[in-house]
Every structure is written in C-alpha cells, then in structure tokens.
C-alpha cells in the first residue's frame, strides 16, 4: 500500500533546454494550458484509460498528504500515433500503480500533459530518461 501513498510532486524540475524536445505534437490543439518547461513526477493508481480520439486520457488517483485521494487527468497524443509507438488499449489497467511524468497545468489544477510512464515491472512508455 505504501506505493499507493503519496509521492506527489517528487520532482518538479525546470528543463529550460530539454523540455521543448520532450513535448509531444498534440494533433488537435495547442498545449498552451500546460507548462512545458516543467516536468512533474507523480506516483498514482490507474482509474481508467480512455483510448479515444482526438486524445488518449489516463485517469489516475493520487494520494494526498491528508489521506484524501485526488483524481488527475493526464492527456496524451491520439491513439493512432501512440499505437505506432507501442501503446495498446490495455497498456494501463485499472489498479495499476505507475510513476508518471507530466507537464503540469499552468494553473496548478490536477491535470497534465503526458511525458512518460514507468510501470511496476520497470517497463516504460514515452520519454523516460534516467534523470527527468
């Protein structure tokens, strides 16, 4: 259960140089609501994967300090391009505990733009450099 407990905002690193290259090309809208100069790492439990156009969404729960859990919405690219990068509709299963790296919302609300994920078996999708 410990893994299910907060590690919210383990890292909030500013990549003034690296982050622009990490930004996916969102096929449908500009990513202006996300701060693409920052990468935040969260440990979370998967609620569901919305394998839909124009964007795939990963709904996850993050445990907060006081014990409450908070739902985050992680926006990724579309299923067409992601499927060509190794994603499948079953890549995220409800209950999976995962570590996600996201560009956070500029206004601090619980959502982000997908950068990378590491699953419990140490496999990864997206951009997952040793140092975020």
């Amino acid at each position: 259960m410990k893994t299910n407990v907060i590690s919210l905002v383990v890292l909030a690193l500013v990549f003034l140089i690296g982050a622009p290259f990490a930004q996916p090309v969102l096929a449908h809208h500009a990513a202006t609501m996300f701060d693409t100069t920052k990468v935040v790492e969260i440990t979370a439990t998967v609620k569901e994967l919305q394998w839909t156009n124009p964007h795939v969404w990963i709904q996850v729960y993050v445990q907060k300090a006081g014990g409450a859990r908070e739902e985050w919405s992680i926006e990724a690219n579309g299923p067409n391009s992601l499927s060509r990068q190794g994603w499948r509709p079953t890549s995220f299963k409800p209950g999976d505990v995962v570590t996600l790296r996201v560009n956070p919302m500029r206004d601090g609300t619980p959502a982000g733009l997908f950068v990378g994920v590491r699953f419990s078996d140490a496999t990864t999708l997206g951009r997952w450099d040793p140092q975020p």
């Binding site: 090309v25 449908h28 809208h29 156009n53 919405s73 067409n80």
Partner: protein, 274 residues
C-alpha cells in the same frame, strides 16, 4: 499483276485505316509510367510550416514566441504578430479544435500523424490520417474551373501533370484566413484567399517523398515564398486509423478563444473559464 496491285492497295488501306489510327490513339491514351508512392508516410520534422526560418531554431509551433519569416507585407506581418501575441496569452485556438474543420491547404501538407499518397492515372489523392483531410489533384488534363464556377474551399482546387517522376500541381481557390478558421500552423501563420501555390512533388529516394512549394499571395506576401516538406516512409505493415475528433473532445474552446481542459465528468478543470 492485277492481284498484286490489289494486295498492295489492301495493305496500304489497312495501314491508313487501322494501323496508323490505332497507333495515334494509343499514343494519346497511353498511361504514363507513374511512380510508386504506395505505403504510409510521415512528415519529417515538427509541424512548423517553414522550418528553415523558424525562430528560435528548433522552436515548436504553439510554443509562446515561436515564429517564422514568411515574406509578409507590413499589414500581414502585423496580423501575424497579433496572432503570436494571442498564443502567448493562450487565446489563439487552433481552428481544428472545432471537430470536423479541415486543416485546409497548404496546412494539409504539414500534418502530424501519417499520410497516404494515392497515385492514379487521372488523379492523385493526398490522404491525411489526421482529418478530415483529402486533397484531390486532377491529372487528366483538366484546367481549373472558370472564375464564376469557383468558390473558396478549405483545400482549394488542384490540377496537375507529370513531368517524368515529378508531380507538378497548381492550387487555387483556398479559403485562407477569410473566415478565421484556417491557419498554416500553430505559430499563428495565416495566408489569404488569393493564395496560388505550385507544388513539385517527387520521390527523391526509396524512403523519402519531397514537396517543394512555391506560394504566391498578392494580398499577404511581398514575394514568392518557397517551402520544402519531406515525408518518410514507415514500415510496410503500418496501418492507418480513423481520426474521429468528436469521439471524446475534452478540449473545447471558449468564446474568448481559451482552450479548456475537461475532467472525466465533462466539467472544466481550469481555474479560469471564460
């Protein structure tokens, strides 16, 4: 002697009545040897339309302050700067955010996701997976319709011909920015409904198709603007899928141009919703 003359006459008659007409007809209707552009292709590089002039270098379309250097006249340079400022303030939405809006020409040559280029004797089709986007290029010898039979559309009207392995096509009658629902890329680039583009497209090697575009726009540009796009072939087993924008669009645009982010309950997550 008489029979020999008859035979000769028959042969000459056959030559003039059958052989020569068939040969001429055959030459006129012979299908040119068309290049093989089969497979699935992906644009090389980011969705910045003119990567040769992008500032800063490696800047991505949609990031605040990123711009290109088209040969705009003063008025359209000012319009471009206004769009760039809108992007900086988060109030310059991508028109395709309204699901079903085509990207329009020339942006259709600058898409993420993948392409198919279907070469037929009478037409070439450019099919963008990220859609709806189809460009039909008529190569059967027809011309553009007369002015009174044309009206501006997202993709315009394209006619072309083959010069050996090069498709040369001419595109007119695009909407441009007249209704504020077509951009060229997310840096805020726009062109007018007077755009005239000549595109030379050919396979430059096994893995690459290149499109050299010359854009002339008497309303917006001081001189022709030359832009080159390249497309790389993907593995042969690559598939192309539906792009159904309305399926789960969680990023609607407000009346002020702000792009929202909806939660799973359909309500905005954003703090500012105007």
């Amino acid at each position: 002697m008489t029979s020999a003359l008859l035979r000769t006459t028959k042969h000459v008659g056959l030559l003039f009545c059958v052989v020569i007409p068939i040969t001429i007809w055959g030459q006129r209707t012979a299908t040119p040897v068309l290049p093989d552009w089969s497979g699935v292709w992906q644009m090389v590089g980011p969705t910045v339309f003119d990567t040769s002039t992008v500032e800063p270098p490696n800047g991505r379309a949609g990031e605040p302050g990123v711009r290109e250097r088209p040969p705009y006249n003063e008025e359209w340079e000012a319009r471009y700067r206004k769009n760039i400022e809108g992007i900086r303030n988060g109030v310059f939405p991508d028109p395709v955010n309204t699901c079903g809006t085509p990207h329009g020409f020339p942006r259709v040559m600058n898409l993420p996701d993948v392409y198919e280029f279907v070469v037929r004797p009478e037409q070439v089709w450019i099919l963008g997976e990220n859609g709806p986007n189809i460009v039909r290029i008529y190569t059967d010898g027809r011309k553009h319709p007369a002015a009174e039979d044309l009206w501006p559309t997202y993709s315009g009207d394209s006619v072309g011909h083959w010069e050996n392995d090069t498709l040369v096509f001419d595109t007119v009658s695009t909407k441009g920015s007249r209704d504020s629902d077509v951009i060229v890329d997310r840096t805020g680039l726009i062109l007018s409904d007077q755009l005239h583009t000549v595109t030379r497209m050919r396979r430059i090697d096994d893995m690459t198709i290149e499109a050299q575009m010359t854009l002339e726009d008497p309303k917006a540009l001081k001189s022709p603007w030359r832009v080159t796009k390249r497309y790389r072939k993907l593995p042969v087993d690559t598939r192309v899928f539906d792009y159904s924008c309305a399926e789960n669009n969680r990023n609607p645009v407000t009346s002020s141009g702000r792009t929202l982010t909806l939660g799973p309950d359909g309500k905005p997550i954003d703090k500012v919703v105007d």
